[in-house]
Symmetry: C2
Subunit: 207 residues, 2 copies
Amino acid sequence: MARTPPTKPRKNALQARSRATVDALVEATARILVKEGFEKTSTNRIAEIAGVSVGSLYQYFPSKEALVAAVIDRHNEEIMGLVRAALAEVADLPIEKAVQKLVTVAIEAHRINPKLHRVLAEQIPRTGQLADVEAFNREVHALVRAYLESRRKEMRKIDPGLATFICVSAIEAVAHNTVLNEAEVLSEKTVRTLVEETTRMVVGYLR
Amino acid sequence: MARTPPTKPRKNALQARSRATVDALVEATARILVKEGFEKTSTNRIAEIAGVSVGSLYQYFPSKEALVAAVIDRHNEEIMGLVRAALAEVADLPIEKAVQKLVTVAIEAHRINPKLHRVLAEQIPRTGQLADVEAFNREVHALVRAYLESRRKEMRKIDPGLATFICVSAIEAVAHNTVLNEAEVLSEKTVRTLVEETTRMVVGYLR
DNA sequence: CTATAATGCGAGCGATCACTCGCTTTTTCT
DNA sequence: AGAAAAAGCGAGTGATCGCTCGCATTATAG
């Protein structure tokens, strides 16, 4: 009895050039999403732009959804990198400084790739595996909550979960709307004012 | 020369039962969106659920997009009804009371039809005419800004446009995330706490 | 060098879907 | 009652798209 069927079922297994293929596919997907929008992003087109055949595409990604999910994941990991670093850096700082840093990072994170961010926010139907952006959100909440709990003395009496929810919602919304509305051009001055004001609101709320 | 070509080109013209047809189509679209999601929402299915033929559908709606846009519009008009009423009611009230009312209304507005709201937010690609949710947003900003300007004396020195942007972003985000995360069950107590806290944050920020 | 596995290819299948067209039924007008 | 306009119908069309399959090419192992 032959143990291994001649063809491995699907997906993983990357040894040398296949890595490049996978990268090219994810990169091509991101580019098409940004340049042509979600509707024009077909698997055939992705393969074409990646300089790869559709067959190869399906060797590594079981579905179109999986490809888009990979793009989302890559982008979210970049953002989470900034956020994790900021929260580590801020752990020993008082609330005022910490919030200022976090607001700054929130805006920076949204500016990593604004066009992609916009497409992901506005054009990708959050369905099936694409719904899992939530995991990142939970991590952010957990990290912020841990910080707030460690600084309880500087704050008024307040439920940490609730405070986290309100602060994260507010900061995220300001950053998100800023980047989506002002399009690409955001003067340093504007950003500074925005950070100041948002920080003021959040800090005022916490104590 | 025949003036009127025998068949009117498309779209409007409603005299009696055709009104019911149009309503049934919009209603069916909303129901399918909620029950089966955007992906399953095809024009054939809409016509079927509305108890109408595809042909009739295309007499009144030039495209599938137009149908979804009608659903969005209807929902937004309901929301704007609440918001406009609240802002009128609040015009002569001091900031504290006004903000409290506005936060309450923001949550109420998101709870008009939470399931539909979720689908519209998460599954509808904002593309083409669907991108025009922005008009409602602008109206909200204009209304809030007008209120804030009329109450300048109670506030610290602050740019009205910026203040409006931050306050509306924060309030909207809290309401949005509340309704989307807590799913359907929201105790009165939770809502009251949330309103109190958000109000505190915004009022504290404004003065 | 040869055998075997890994990777790559792309024509084309099957299914879906938005939308049209020729026709029937209902309503309105005179 | 008769004519004409309005409303309604639904099988069918053309196009797209996700995905498969049989085969070719390249890399690795013995």
